[in-house]
Amino acid sequence: MKVLVAVKRVVDSGIKVRVKPDGIDLQGVKMTINPFCEIAVEEAVRLKEKKLIAEIVAVTIGPKQGAESLRHALALGADKAIHVTTEARIDQAVQPLDVANILAKLVERDNYNLVLMGKQSIDDDFNQTGQMLAGLLDWPQATFASNIQITDGIAQVIREIDGGLQTVKFKLPGVITCDLRLNQPRFASVPNIMKAKSKPLETIPLDKLGKLHNSIQITKTEAPAIRKGGAIVENVDVLIQKLRNEAKLF
């Protein structure tokens, strides 16, 4: 069984974000693999260690530095990597529907039985790509996975939803998006980092697989308002008045 794992290279969650008029300042900023994508890679590696899948292929869309995330995935245990190259800004111009279409083309080309992805990326937080991909392929999907079991071609996934935990079962092929508590990714050991250098990495220019339509336009990017101090109120009436008229809560 072959698995495709989609990974995205995003701004590191620990850095201090600088806002420019045209978006986040990416110049010289520390980038890393999206944490949910890393969890997806780790899950694929664990499934392979349990001998449930035979081959893991990692794919990313982005400029040449995007290969770093692929090499990280290879160091964690992926077998091959595909780099779909584009110079477009991956935190703005590479959008879920376009990504889903490109991934769908790769799925059809290479015949995967399962696609694993992070539930969302921490730069745009769309949480759409996995769902759209399943729709385009007409495949079943399970999102926000916190547990995955695969037996005889049937996937059983426990999903974390607002109401609690939901268990779904479907026959593969399908799409599963991964949530935080699914696993904790391993450290890439030095021998594995070195082995990753000789694993196959295929490069495909984006326009061979699809197009970026930019159907969503970013109109404004601004930093959250600076936290203002609170105020002590004398009684509940004053509190209600402030909540209604100043905070505009109701």
């Binding site: 620990g14 770093e68 160091a75 450290f187 021998p191 070195m194």
Partner: protein, 397 residues
Amino acid sequence: MQIIRNRFMVNHIPRFGFKYMSDSTFLNEEHLQIQKAALDFAKEKMLPYSAEWDKKHHFPKDVLRELAAMGFSTIYVKQESGGVGLDRLTASVIFEALSYGDVTTTAYLTIQNMCAYMVDQFGNEEQKKTWIPRFGTFDAFASYCLTEPNSGSDSKNMKTFAKKDGNDYVINGSKCFISGGSVSDVYLVMCKTSEKDVSCILVEKGTPGLSFGKLEDKMGWNASPTAMVLFDNVRVPQSNLLGKEGNGFKMAMSALDGGRINIASCSLGGASFAFDLTKDYLHDRKQFGQPLAAFQGLQFKFADMATNLVTSRLIVRQAAQMIDNSHPDKTLYSAMAKRYATDSCFNLANEALQLHGGYGYLREYQVERIVRDLRVHQILEGTNEIMKVIISRNLLK
């Protein structure tokens, strides 16, 4: 005070970490990948426990085994021998990142690496096959024995003697300040095999006549056991000789430059941690209605700390690269790097303590542990005074 206390107890994953001082000069993509792996490991598996290990004098053998699984115990041992086969610059990056989490365990790790390197460089096939795989998993812990009670800087004047007797050597003497002493499984013992010749002989723990002094009670490096190693008619087969008789000194010299880079790298990591702690503290702590970061006197101290950290890092990495390239000046630069980085980093940590005010004196705030741990780096692997001897001799000859 409450706000500052919570900062350490609530945060599981430290917010700070190389984000303030992450320059990647000299480093290519592979170095950065390995640095990330080492730093992630250090922040998760070492940093949260460092204070406890220091307080309890606990030698974390299990964490060292995990470090070995990451490939960090035979970093520059050749791949054909079973090591990872990377260069000194990568080793420097790894040790710097790991000592961000804990200086002491990383320093011990550098000793394991050095012993493995010596077996790889000078051992015969039998010795390499026996020991390198065991070093690579920390199935065997190694110690390096050179210093004696009466010969530190004057190492050529050592008295421990190995006399030939039939097919064996019989060793008598004593070594002191040995990291791993009484815990390590094998000791690489530098001893005299004739009046002038120094040789390196492997002695395994449990060999009759081999005994250890009590564990030393030190200022820092508390997570690492240090003890005297005593040889009373210790009999080992002559096949335990590493390399050739009389080559001991050349072997030691070839290991020294790298050892100096290693210890300097450990200083860099510890200093980085003290630096990051200080930056946060200067913002958080307020006096006279302002954060400490607003006072020029303190700003100037901090500016010097930053500059010295960056320059230390640069010279250490340059020297590491020179060793990798077998540059004729590698010994000169390694001595300069060791002397400069260990002094600068200790002073940085000491200054960091001062900038923390009264809190700097409390164990809870961690900066004093860095001061205690880094202090010995100015002394071992060749005192900084000996470094100056080497530097001036190299330049004035």
